[in-house]
């Protein structure tokens, strides 16, 4: 089946749906991290449902406005006061409060300073870092790789999330191993799986994959792999080639 005899209309990759462009014109950053096409995983003339032409943006919860509510404001105030005292007032790009969790999106160069503040400031006191988790958003152009840190304050019994986004072409984030030594292995794992280079890490080597492994397996452009399985005359393709319901 070639593209020519497909009855699915050409899919506009960069088109922004009406209601979104409205949002964008009002100056609010549209948190779109990708686009999904169709519905039943069918393309070409096999699709008789008409849903094949569906184009849907993946919209993440956008920036929240003050007041955030509860202790979120205390934490944000304390951090803001600290940052204003320096010339890093713009270190926090935005704050997202969603599903009872607060996320600070931090400019990558300022991550060590912000992390240090979170750990040491007496009104913040996030003593415990639960590591870093990488996420690869191929559709989030210019910010493809995200590093997500979960901090816990045992003093105040609070949790916050720090998120740093970097482009795929320049995947460098300053290491915070000197601030949270626990991140040693976590940063190595994120490097191993996503190729994010944590500058200043004492020994950034692969940790789970063999040392000479090519590629970074958990990136979205790295195939899952697998072989087709034959069963009673039928062939079942490997999981990443099966029909998926996008």
């Amino acid at each position: 089946m070639t593209e020519e005899n497909s009855n699915v209309p050409a899919q506009p990759d960069s088109a922004v749906p009406e209601e979104l462009s409205d949002d964008a014109s009002r100056g609010r950053r549209v948190e779109s991290v990708g686009t999904r096409h169709g519905m039943f995983g069918v393309s070409g003339s096999g699709d008789t449902s008409g849903y094949g032409g569906l184009v849907k943006q993946t919209i993440f919860p956008g920036a929240s406005q003050r007041p955030y509510g509860g202790w979120y404001d205390e934490v944000a105030d304390a951090l803001e006061a600290r940052l204003k005292a320096t010339d890093l007032a713009a270190a926090v790009e935005k704050v997202v409060v969603d599903r009872g969790e607060i996320t600070f999106h931090v400019r990558r160069d300022d991550l060590p300073f912000v992390a240090q503040m979170f750990r040491d400031d007496e009104s913040l006191r996030f003593e415990f870092c639960a590591g870093v988790s990488g996420v690869h958003y191929p559709g989030d152009t210019g910010r493809e790789l995200h590093a997500v840190y979960h901090l816990l304050s045992m003093t105040y019994n609070r949790r916050v999330r720090l998120e740093v986004s970097v482009p795929d072409a320049d995947p460098h984030i300053p290491s915070i191993v000197s601030i949270y030594p626990t991140n040693d292995w976590h940063e190595r794992e994120t490097y191993d799986m996503y190729g994010i280079v944590f500058d200043g890490h004492p020994a950034l080597t692969r940790i789970l994959m063999p040392d000479d492994w090519p590629g970074h397996p958990q990136r979205k452009d790295y195939p899952l792999g697998g072989i087709p399985v034959e069963y009673k005359g039928g062939t079942i393709p490997p999981p990443d080639q099966r029909r998926s319901y996008s």
């Binding site: 991290v33 990708g34 999904r36 849907k56 993946t58 919209i59 993440f60 919860p61 969603d98 599903r99 009872g100 969790e101 996320t103 003593e127 415990f128 870092c129 639960a130 590591g131 988790s133 990488g134 996420v135 690869h136 997500v148 979960h150 816990l152 045992m154 019994n157 949790r159 999330r161 949270y180 030594p181 626990t182 991140n183 040693d184 292995w185 976590h186 794992e189 692969r206 940790i207 789970l208 994959m209 063999p210 000479d212 492994w213 090519p214 397996p217 958990q218 899952l224 999981p239 990443d240 998926s244 319901y245 996008s246």
Partner: protein, 446 residues
């Protein structure tokens, strides 16, 4: 021969390499005596696959005589790509994968993932009470079985074989309960988004009660065997010492953190699944060493028995209550029942979808093959696993599959303490220190 891109040459560039296969010490030392290179400092690769290294863990020890000057871990031998695989299955199928990560505490892996998914779906308040009580019941039974293995293998590694045999004897009883309730001894995939997969089978509560009664008789045996045993204490006391500041810097949690006297237990501090309504105590010790961690695990099993008893009492009052969320767009449509040929699809359900209602068939088919959609966003709901803070960072892009599921496994983080716990000590104490960390390599490597 074709070039294997994954297998480069790995010749050792410097120093002499000895292959020790056993029964050959004479020939090795003979060659050394005349050698000018003979020195006390040796690098020993312990494992992968040493019987006392908790799975496929490789330790690289630099020894000066019997003293460890440097200890490092080589991990990754059990990496199975669970997180990546989950991105290619539906949200419900994800449970089947993550339950296999830390194979000694499968219910905890399932629970933290499921709690994250439920938070993303926004249905946390709609989970039926019975499902939450069953989760607590299973997690606490699981904590007992996990701590039993920690104590059993820890005992075996220092030569206390009886501790091992009785530990596995009792664990078997817990696994029998799991088999009765979920159908499987391990890798249950029982806790599902929206609730649990099945109701309790008839007679399960009686079995649980008689197990609790038996354990109350058996647990004192461990105390009698070990608590004041001079050899046991001699091997464990003061070994693997790590204070509170060290624990926080290295992100350690669970029994290691509590052995410093700090009562941090997520079941108390950040309750989930209704733990705030149960009556139990957080166990601590104040020696910051392996012996304290052993005593904490022993005491936590008593607390888990209390919790299991309370959960069983509640379940007795909840007979016939639903165990899955009422929302039919999320709840798994298939119903299981015991038939003449064993456990399988409920004949009533098959009759309904095949003979009575086309809509029910469509609904069943859509939910089983395609699954439900989860609104975009991310969630992190950590829980207190037997080894510490276990959390799943779950990200959804609005699709029917997890966009990303990352497990912050306590074994992985805690294993980083190997160096600081064992450097400067004797080589035999490395084993004790690692046993007190209680790493499970399935969780470390995922």
């Amino acid at each position: 021969m074709a070039q294997d891109v994954y297998a480069g040459s790995a010749d050792t560039a410097e120093g002499r390499v000895f292959m020790v296969t056993g029964q050959d010490w004479d020939s090795i030392t003979q060659g050394l005596e005349a050698d000018e290179l003979a020195e006390e400092r040796v690098v020993v690769n312990m494992g992968p696959q040493h019987p006392s290294t908790h799975g496929v863990l490789r330790l690289i020890l630099e020894l000066d005589g019997e003293t460890v000057t440097e200890a490092r871990c080589g991990i990754g031998y059990l990496h199975t790509g669970i997180e990546k695989n989950m991105e290619y299955r539906s949200w419900v199928q994800g449970v089947t994968f993550c339950t296999r990560a830390d194979y000694l505490s499968p219910f905890f892996n399932e629970a933290t993932y499921v709690l994250g998914v439920e938070k993303l779906l926004g249905i946390e308040d709609e989970i039926p009470e019975k499902a939450q009580v069953m989760r607590v019941l299973l997690m606490e039974l699981n904590r007992i079985s996990s701590h039993l293995v920690a104590i059993a293998t820890g005992g075996m590694e220092i030569g206390a074989l009886t501790v091992m045999t009785i530990g596995f004897r009792e664990r078997e009883l817990v696994l029998d309960l799991f088999e009765l309730i979920t159908g499987l001894r391990m890798n249950h995939a029982f806790i599902r988004p929206g609730g649990v997969s099945q109701d309790l089978p008839p007679g399960a509560l009686d079995e649980i009660r008689s197990f609790v009664k038996l354990m109350r008789k058996r647990l004192p045996e461990y105390a009698d065997l070990c608590n004041a045993n001079p050899i046991f204490k001699g091997r464990l006391e003061g070994v693997g010492h790590l204070d509170l500041a060290g624990c926080l810097a290295l992100g350690l949690s669970g029994p290691i953190l509590r052995s410093t006297g700090y009562p941090w237990d997520l079941r108390k501090t950040q309750p989930y699944c209704g733990y705030e309504t149960y009556d139990f105590d957080v166990q601590t010790w104040d020696t910051s060493d392996s012996y304290g961690r052993f005593r904490i695990r022993l005491a936590e099993m008593w607390e888990s028995l209390r919790l299991v008893e309370q959960a069983a009492d509640r379940l007795a009052k909840l007979e016939g209550a639903p165990v899955m969320v009422a929302d039919k767009k999320i709840a798994w449509p298939s119903q299981l029942a015991i038939g003449s040929d064993g456990l399988g699809n409920s004949l009533d359900h098959i009759r309904h979808i095949m003979g009575e209602s086309m809509e029910a068939l469509i609904h069943h088919f859509k939910l089983v093959t395609e699954g439900f959609r989860v609104p975009p966003g991310q969630a992190y709901v950590p829980i207190e696993s037997p080894r510490g803070e276990l959390g799943a960072h779950v990200v959804s892009d609005g699709g029917t599959r997890p966009f990303r599921a990352h497990f912050r496994d306590p074994s992985f983080t805690n294993l980083q303490a190997t160096s600081v716990m064992s450097e400067g000590g004797m080589v035999a104490d490395v084993i004790v220190a690692i046993a007190s960390i209680d790493p499970v390599m399935g969780g470390v490597d995922r």
